[in-house]
């Protein structure tokens, strides 16, 4: 990084707040999607909103692109740094600023870890509903960027359902407040647009969250089926019966094996496992659980267990939540895919994936949020064997095409980021994408905020060329890069 710029950044965040050594920068060269790596010019660790504003003002003046980053657990390369740009890591802005139980609101800084919000309100009988599998480490700021979901969003909704307001530093360094503590603030729902914009519209520095009262009772049922077809039919049966469980999760045999090997969740060895969680008033859950049990038996469930204690319930979930990481037990490398299909297309899509897997010899383990049709196929391969990585990537992309053809989406919760830009053009037409980017041009006409993500072709915003090329200091030979 150019010394003059580095000095100005250091003046803002102090020497503890600026990382420029190649060794330390390596920590930030990728997020949870490790096959993309880019070294940034530097990493800044601001401690408050004023510092974020000062950083963005400087970036704006010097036309330095930036990428905001939370805990770096994202799975689409959303926090992948940009060459010639800086990373703003918000991990030091991790205070819970306000807990307002009577109004069921919590105000946090972006670096607060998801599970810490629930921990802060648990003594009052509340929880923060969005529960991505990485919730013990991922940050609320990252959740906002990606509109994170989780197993329980079938009933409770996504991050966007639970974000009521935001304090945002715009890419020119100005500060705006979107939404608020009370509902329906006058004007456009810009908070609704900002959530899920993957860091391309600015940097959130405060987030107003809605919390939810813990239900009176939670019951989790585990049912073993001969195959995903029967399990899928049971899911349809449950939905058709007019129930809205808190979660419905499915794992296929390969995923079960991996989870068993990793965390010994005591899962039955079967073709497909269904995990159905109901919550609510005791009398209600009791009566509905009997119905779920009957539906599962009707569809050929060979073994049904209802977790009898909180410990048993936690163990059941542990296996599911560890499923991605558990793949390491059965395959040296794997790609986590994140497609969505209308739930009714499940049998057809599953047989299609199965066919492709057999054709290519690439193994695919399947973990789904079955209630809402969000598939997480895990494409397994061994990097050491020549050609396997390419075959796995090709199959993984093919799965997205199958999802689009079934009327679904290329991403249910991981985001587009760097990874799925190409697939955006398959899902949306050029006018669709161009229209989305009008929003971008309103927020960030210079396109400095996480440029080159989401959209396959950046749109020009009129004033300036949209795509960042090279920093002028660099082209002039003044600046140096690591």
């Amino acid at each position: 990084m150019n010394a003059a710029i580095a000095k100005q950044f250091r003046d803002i965040v102090g020497s503890r707040g600026l990382i420029t050594s190649a060794e330390e920068l390596r920590t930030y060269e990728c997020d949870g999607l490790t096959n993309f790596r880019v070294m940034p010019l530097g990493v800044l660790l601001p401690e408050n909103t004023a510092q974020v504003q000062a950083i963005l003002k400087l970036c704006h003046a010097e036309k330095i692109p930036f990428v905001a980053r939370g805990s770096g657990t994202g799975l689409s390369g959303g926090a992948l740094p940009i060459e010639n740009g800086i990373v703003i890591a918000l991990t030091r802005m991790n205070r819970i600023l306000e807990v307002d139980i009577p109004n069921a609101r919590v105000v946090v800084e972006p670096g607060v870890v998801n599970l810490d919000v629930s921990a802060a309100v648990a003594p009052y009988g509340y929880f923060y509903a969005p529960d991505p599998s990485s919730q013990s480490v991922c940050s609320i700021g990252g959740n906002v960027a990606e509109n994170s979901g989780g197993a329980h969003c079938l009933k409770y909704g996504f991050t966007t359902t639970h974000v009521l307001g935001l304090e945002v530093v715009l890419p020119d360094g100005s500060l705006v407040h979107l939404g608020g503590k009370s509902l329906d603030a006058p004007g456009y729902d810009l908070a609704g647009v900002f959530v899920g914009s993957e860091g391309t519209l600015g940097v959130a520095t405060k987030i107003i969250l809605r919390i939810v009262k813990q239900p009176e009772c939670v019951q989790t049922l585990l049912a073993a089926f001969p195959s995903t077809n029967e399990a899928g039919a049971a899911v349809s049966g449950i939905i058709a019966a007019g129930m809205l469980p808190a979660a419905i999760e499915m794992m296929d045999n390969l995923a079960i094996q991996a989870a068993e090997a990793a965390v010994h969740a005591n899962y039955p060895n079967c073709g497909a496992l269904l995990l159905v969680e109901l919550d609510g008033p005791f009398a209600e859950v009791e009566s509905l659980m009997r119905h779920v049990d009957a539906i599962c038996r009707e569809h050929g469930a060979s073994e049904i267990r209802v977790a009898q204690s909180e410990t048993e319930r936690a163990l059941v979930w542990k296996g599911r939540k560890a499923a991605f990481a558990a793949m390491g037990r059965i395959s040296p490398n794997y790609i986590v895919q994140d497609g969505v299909i209308p739930r009714t297309a499940l049998p057809q899509v599953m047989s299609e994936i199965d066919r492709l897997s057999k054709e290519t010899g690439v193994r695919v383990a399947n973990v789904f949020h079955a209630g809402d049709g969000n598939l997480h196929p895990l494409v397994l391969y061994d990097r050491r064997i020549e050609g396997q990585e390419e075959a796995a990537e090709a199959l993984s992309y093919k799965i997205l095409e199958i999802c689009i053809a079934a009327g679904g989406s290329i991403t249910g919760e991981h985001g587009v980021g760097e990874d799925k830009k190409r697939a955006m053009s398959k899902m949306f037409s050029e006018p669709d994408l161009e229209t989305m980017q009008r929003v971008r041009c309103a927020f960030d006409p210079l396109q400095l905020s996480n440029p080159d993500k989401i959209f396959p072709t950046p749109r020009l915003c009129g004033e300036k060329p949209g795509k960042f090329v090279q920093h002028e200091l660099e082209s002039a030979g003044i600046a140096e890069r690591f």
Partner: protein
């Protein structure tokens, strides 16, 4: 204010009319009458395209001719917002009223903007499903209209607002671009969430031509129970206690009418066993107040406010009195004003007391229905000047609390009073968004916040 001189406008309209006749067919273009005025502003033409491509072409033609367009659904909420700065063309979605796909096994529906809520509800009910939203005037209000106005009712407490229910939308922009965003699946984070941007945008960014919603199953059983609270503070205490309980109620509201004791209503939707058990638990929470099984009609409180009935509101649930006003009527003939207010749940009593004080000082009648989540619909009746001072006074107090007050209906004499109030420090950003979507301010000019 007009972008072009009157002579130019007249010439533009004539040329435009000839062009759109060929797009939509002459039978779908008519001259506007006095009845078609938009908050006192007289448009020239009413055009009803037959599909979204036609609609986009008409919009583009109007944009090219610098003619202002007022999108129209059922017309039930046309009085909301500020009067338009210009209004040349009414663009009706009446013919775009198809239910495109009810994917009942996937709990989604894709529907054209001009479909009425009632028509939609009837189709969904065949599969025992619903769009969990009790909008105003369902027999006439359209999908596009409720989205644009961000209408929502008492079910919002449990199912969220429209922004939580809409999962996809197609927008026709002023330049004729047809853009879809979101999708047909409930879980989807690909691209920006434009359905949310269009929700509540009052048609100022584009015309919604179709939308996809997530659906919910019809409840197995439902039960409404009510109780009378001593005063506003006590009513608020009960609301907060119920909200803080483990009950899974679908709706919770309090009805205040002038000096009468407020009435709290709770809706349970569950299995029979679930309803019964929860009603029992509620008794404990509300004790020593006595609870009564009241009918589903108490949930029409908000509609009754909009139908002009403060007295309606008072009598409902307390006697079998017939409605005093035509419940379907949308015009408020007596000088009264209606506003939507939003405060925090803990500020409901304070807001009500501020309203009472101001209303009494200004000699106006008043009533308000508050949902437990802090959204209220208030109606005041009296002389226009007095209504204006009450609303301004109350808006000042509510904004100081961090909330908002949006005026939806008011007498003609009060049209200059801003409908929206303070949009905060994001107003410039909102203007920038508007400029990107509708640079010539063709759509609903001047009707939205900050003159947008």
């Amino acid at each position: 204010m007009d972008a072009t001189a009157p002579a130019d406008t007249a010439r533009n309209i004539a040329a435009f009319e000839a062009a759109v006749r060929t797009i939509v067919g002459p039978e779908n273009v008519r001259a506007a009458t006095n009845e078609d005025h938009i908050a006192g502003v007289q448009p020239q033409l009413v055009i009803a395209p037959g599909d979204e491509q036609q609609l986009a072409r008409v919009l583009k033609a109007a944009n090219d001719a610098a003619l202002a367009v007022i999108p129209l659904g059922g017309g039930t909420k046309l009085a909301w917002g500020n009067p338009p700065l210009r209004a040349h063309i009414i663009l009706s979605t009446a013919r775009l009223n198809a239910i495109i796909e009810h994917a009942h096994s996937d709990l989604t529906v894709t529907v054209e903007a001009g479909c009425t809520l009632r028509q939609l509800a009837e189709t969904l009910a065949k599969q025992n499903q619903r769009l969990a939203l009790d909008g105003l005037w369902p027999e006439r209000a359209t999908v596009g209209g409720i989205l644009s106005a961000n209408d929502s009712g008492v079910l919002r407490l449990r199912f969220g607002s429209l922004r939580d229910l809409v999962i996809g939308a197609t927008l026709a922009l002023a330049d004729g671009t047809l853009a879809k965003s979101g999708g047909k699946v409930v879980k989807n984070v690909a691209g920006y969430d434009l359905p949310k941007l269009a929700t509540g945008a009052f048609g100022t960014l584009g015309v919604i031509t179709q939308a996809t919603f997530r659906l919910h199953p019809m409840p197995k059983e439902s039960r409404t129970v009510s109780c009378v609270a001593a005063d506003a503070r006590e009513a608020q205490r009960l609301l907060l206690a119920i909200q803080d309980s483990k009950l899974a109620h679908s709706a919770l509201q309090v009805r205040f009418v002038e000096s009468m004791q407020p009435q709290v209503d709770v809706l349970f939707e569950a299995t029979e066993a679930g309803c019964a058990a929860q009603a029992e638990q509620l008794k404990t929470i509300l004790a020593p107040a006595t609870i009564i099984d009241s009918g589903a009609e108490v949930w029409k409180g908000r509609q009754d406010v909009f139908s002009g009935g403060i007295r309606n509101l008072a009598e409902m649930g307390r006697s079998n009195a017939a409605p005093l006003h035509d419940p379907a009527g949308t015009s408020i003939s007596n000088p009264s004003a209606i506003a939507r207010v939003s405060v925090l749940p803990t500020q409901i009593a304070e807001t009500y007391e501020a309203l009472t004080e101001s209303a009494q000082a200004n000699r106006v009648h008043f009533g308000v229905v508050f949902l437990a989540i802090g959204l209220g619909t208030l109606c005041i009746a009296g002389a226009p000047a007095d209504l204006a001072s009450v609303l301004q006074n109350l808006r000042g107090k509510i904004e100081a609390l961090g909330g908002s007050l949006a005026i939806t209906h008011r007498p003609d004499a009060m049209r200059q009073l801003d409908a929206w109030g303070n949009a905060g420090d994001a107003i410039e950003l909102m203007r920038a968004v508007k400029k990107q979507f509708d640079p010539k301010s063709t759509l609903n000019p001047g009707r939205f916040v900050g003159g947008i």
